[in-house]
Symmetry: C2
Subunit: 461 residues, 2 copies
């Protein structure tokens, strides 16, 4: 064991980031703008104000400022659960017999159990500042909903959470924890909204999807006075908030003079990966490093590895602005997969652009393979990871095992985004060998692609 | 907000304790020895070897060495989850409008969700060193069982956990998490042991108790080759291991020149409280401070506040050595109370002696009152506490509120022993107003006292 580097590195509160890192400022080519679905023109701020808080709209459209100050009030909230530890996986390395050095940034040490609280705290703060009295959102695995419930309880804001039905059934405790933080939780699709009723009419037994829950939450926000919608991933401003993860990791590693060779994150909507890589990818775009960046997704919802890079809606009801992204089609509904947070049909426009331009790689794994990796991690490192996080973990283990063969001393950094305390039914299924490895057939993918809108040729460059 | 003290203080790994603090060395009067139940004489090491690992027996009987070295191997394991944060509760203080300064030592940031891992890691380590191949234990709320499952998985030791039946039914996820760490979990009382069958014959519908689960685990240990029993609380060596909690807290507070006025912990078997107060109580016994120490227990299982200080068995089947302690009687079975970890009929002999001698105070609270306190904590500090921990929290809040009235600027330190992620049914009941506040009647207490053995007069000094 390398005695010079501790198992856990916590930067001090005075070293904590005072700015978010806006990766877009470093991108010579930005991702294409949102398109207004009715008028087929680039969106402007005014289009988004009815849906989002104003400050968040400003952040969403800011492609030029590399550093954006974190208000004092948010820094105070962050101190409740940040800085998070950067952990050297000595025990895992030993079990793998690898010459690689494995680090992970662990975001699970807060009640929501994940990195989601970074953006939830921020979005609730701005809502409070702008006099918003209620918020609506969707949640898949429940991490985002829990995070936002915590933030809204802290700021005394009413919250309604539309929870993907299959997740709400698999994770009853998630509902209770959100309710304990005073949120109202509604399984989606629900009869409480127009878009929910439409989806139920088509298939009363649907397990729901994030795209569908988003439709319900947006409808709730725009039809309720002084209410706004908040999203926990995908959008540029959410990736911006998550940059605290990467900034803290970089501050810690810089202390030891270490730059990773590989950085790995799981990718559902892309916020954790986008946040983890932000300052490092910024450096790569400036020619300062040559880091390998890897996005990992489930084979059951393979947006990067089997999706198309095209304009699509963010939701099933086709109400959001059109975003150019890797997508399986807004109508794609993944099989009931326990890695709930990675069930989204689309992908962050920033990450989509980076992937398309060759700066980011992607891998897809089966559920059994990622849970096998989780079991080794549980035994050696103690932490029981969220099913989402296990995807990044699996890739890290694979690369470390390659190093065992080649003798390469790679430095690997991966994002351990959260804990799996509320995902235990998935672990129970893995324990007894009944975990599903279903992946979409070509026909199922085609059905998803068929839901992508046909835009005029000028939008398909 | 006092800017000079951060919200969270983590001591560094190099500052971490290298010795456990053996509080008994500072006690001028030691607690009376264990009594061999068959031969009515003080126990010697040889009496305990069939049950416990040798090194633990040595620690149990060591009343003279104040500092006992923590082996390197255990220090390495501790680094997986320690040091734990010392947190200044600025947000809670603000909500209370109190001039008091509230600190809490938070032990919940590990998968077992509590301080129990401190002793589990230690006991599994010694078992491995001594060539033991399997361990047996009991668990109430499930925190101890999970902690030991983690430690045994790490050291490749087989583990059987007898889980109090009422807890196993209320907390199915606990069972899964232990099984994920490769443990075998059996609801107690069970038909797999002689003592379990006896208890079931008396009442097939019993919810079980810690005392009864202990009987089963000991029976398993002494009837299985190369197997030993491990206990997660009550015993002196367990309190010794938990002293890392108090030592870390003291190291952190000493940096700021702070000595608490009041130290508070919840008390079931007493290990977390005994560990938290160890170095401070040692100082008090040496005349170096005048700290107020408070044990908090549930009204449903009031060992200190309504129990008797006398020799009693540690288990329901009357198989353990007799310990002089505050007890409700080994036959006492508390009502199905969600604060599972505080359901034990007895109390640490060390804490019992300190309480009897006036160094330690005790308070008992109703379940609704502690969950009300938890709700304020959840909202302000974000963390969702374990039902056990909420008892200490409630006392801290009460004292801080007194300070609001009197203007006293007391410094309060309490132990936030764990998280309530697996106790959400209790929170759900609190959310919907169906939580039970049942406390034992005088008749029920008397029935418990009737189970206490009558010893010769020489043991009742």
């Amino acid at each position: 064991m390398d005695k010079t580097i501790p198992v856990k590195t916590y930067i001090s509160e005075t070293e904590a980031p005072q700015y978010w890192y806006n990766l877009r400022a470093d991108m010579k080519e930005k991702h294409p703008p949102f398109i207004h679905p009715g008028e087929l023109r680039p969106c402007v701020a005014e289009d988004l104000y009815p849906i989002f808080c104003k400050e968040l709209v400003k952040q969403e459209l800011n492609q030029t400022d590399q550093l954006i100050p974190i208000p004092d009030g948010i820094q105070q909230f962050y101190k409740m659960f940040r800085p998070s530890p950067l952990i050297r996986a000595y025990s895992l390395e030993k079990a793998l017999g690898t010459p690689a050095a494995i680090y992970y940034k662990f975001e699970g040490n807060n009640t929501s159990g994940s990195h989601k609280l970074n953006s939830a705290a921020t979005q609730a703060y701005y809502a409070k500042q702008e006099g918003i009295t209620s918020l609506a959102t969707e949640t898949g695995a429940g991490q985002w909903g829990t995070a936002l419930a915590m933030a809204c309880d802290y700021y005394d804001i009413d919250l309604t959470v539309y929870m993907v039905k299959v997740s709400s059934e698999q994770k009853p405790y998630r509902k209770i924890v959100m309710e304990t933080y005073a949120a109202k939780v509604i399984p989606s699709p629900s009869p409480t909204t127009e878009s929910g009723r439409k989806i139920l009419a088509l298939d009363p037994n649907t397990g729901g999807s994030l795209g569908c829950a988003i439709s319900e939450a947006i409808e709730k926000a725009v039809t309720t006075e002084n209410c706004r919608y908040v999203l926990g991933s995908v959008l540029d401003h959410v990736l911006l908030h998550q940059s605290v993860v990467g900034l803290e990791a970089k501050t810690a590693l810089d202390k030891y003079g270490i730059t990773p060779d590989v950085i790995i994150g799981c990718a559902g909507g892309g916020s954790n990966l986008g946040g983890l890589i932000a300052p490092y990818m910024g450096g790569r775009l400036q020619g300062k490093n040559n880091i390998q960046f890897i996005a990992v997704e489930p084979q059951s919802c393979p947006s990067f590895t089997r999706g198309k890079y095209t304009y699509d809606f963010g939701d099933t009801a086709k109400t959001t602005p059109l975003m150019k992204m890797y997508t399986l089609g807004n109508g794609f509904i993944p099989s009931a997969n326990h890695a709930g947070g990675l069930r989204y049909h689309g992908m962050s426009p920033i990450l989509s652009k980076l992937y398309n331009d060759g700066y980011l790689e992607a891998r897809a794994y089966s559920q059994t393979d990622v849970f096998d990796a989780a079991k080794l991690f549980i035994k050696t490192e103690g932490i029981l990871p969220a099913p989402e996080s296990t995807h990044a973990l699996k890739a890290a283990i694979d690369i470390a095992r390659e190093c065992t063969k080649t003798g390469e001393k790679k430095t690997i950094l991966f994002g351990l985004t959260g804990t799996g305390y509320f995902d235990l039914m998935a672990y129970a299924q893995h324990n007894n060998g009944t975990l599903s490895d279903k992946v979409p057939t070509d026909e199922e993918l085609q059905a998803g692609f068929d839901s992508i809108p046909n835009l005029p040729a000028k939008f398909s460059d």
